[in-house]
Amino acid sequence: MSLGWSLTEVAAHLLHHEEREVVLGDLSEAHESTWHGLLDVLGLVTRRQLQLWQNWRPWLSGFGLALPSSFLLMGASVGVSTAYQSLNGPRDIDQHLLFICQVLLLAAWSWSGGFVVGKLSRLTLWASVLLCLTPCLFCMVRFRIPSLSRASLLLFLLPAVVGALQGVRRIQISLKAGFALAVSVTALMVFMCSSGRLWFVNWSLIWPVWYIVSTAPHASREVERS
């Protein structure tokens, strides 16, 4: 198998499964040169991607969620790391409680953000990932807190990746579970806000959990239909 054909097959993975089969079959049958085939496939991939961006979902997912949330979640990650460093032994229950709340909020924000990104833009996920990772790289390069590792910026990534994968697989969240999550996150945020530990801009991280709630009834209807 030539390099050109291997690249063509890799490029064809950006197409739907059925279309990939059809296109690679057409190229095999036409006996075209592999490089012409590669250009042809790239042309089709480009057209398909442009079609996807005519919809509002990839824009909301990339520029309304992945890009701004990555900055806020990096800030929250550093907040958790700093809070962990300043824990003063097991007797300081208040501090431990606040720390646990921060960890839970970071996990919930990251997971719900990733889930909504994956659900909204399955086929343009690469763009959302790029829009999330670019600020991460930027901030890692400029990170200047001697007592903390650069990795502390990225605490949010694991739950976000898990959420994104579940969103891409269209895992169904029931209305009850979604509502319980949204109410818990809101309550935690109110509690953190009242204790002066929540930056007001972080309130913008609340919408993905409520988006999950607002789409949950539709999701359950889809299950009934199928």
């Binding site: 059925e18 279309e19 089969e21 059809v22 296109v23 690679l24 079959g25 057409d26 190229l27 095999s28 049958e29 036409a30 042809d40 496939v41 042309g43 089709l44 480009t46 057209r47 398909r48 079609q51």
Partner: protein, 110 residues
């Protein structure tokens, strides 16, 4: 009204009948028009025409010639035939009196 390439695609698919699928249509278009048709242009146009109800597509059998991969078979619907006929009639009407058309039918251009 159809676009030029949409008309070419529908007419070619109709001409190929039961053998109308991507690779065959591309080959036929290249042979009759002398222009290569890209995969991108072909499949996005097929999707558009299918959305308009002018074509119907389905997955066909896999063949060894295609490396065991399936074909996307294409059939022109009655609505597609009518749209192609309307396009042809419009082109015929608008071409009436054009020098190249008169010359072709043996008359003089004036």
């Amino acid at each position: 009204m159809l676009g030029e390439f949409e008309y070419v695609l529908i007419t070619t698919a109709a001409g190929l009948g039961g053998q109308a699928y991507g690779a065959a249509i591309r080959e036929q278009i290249a042979r009759t028009t002398g222009r290569k048709c890209s995969l991108g242009a072909l499949y996005t146009t097929i999707d558009r025409l299918e959305t308009k109800g002018l074509l119907k597509t389905w997955m066909g059998d896999a063949t060894p010639q295609r490396g065991g991969r399936a074909k996307r078979m294409i059939r022109v619907t009655a609505k597609g035939v009518q749209a192609a006929k309307d396009f042809y009639d419009a082109v015929t009407r608008v071409s009436h009196g054009a020098s190249w058309v008169v010359n072709q039918t043996g008359g003089s251009a004036g």
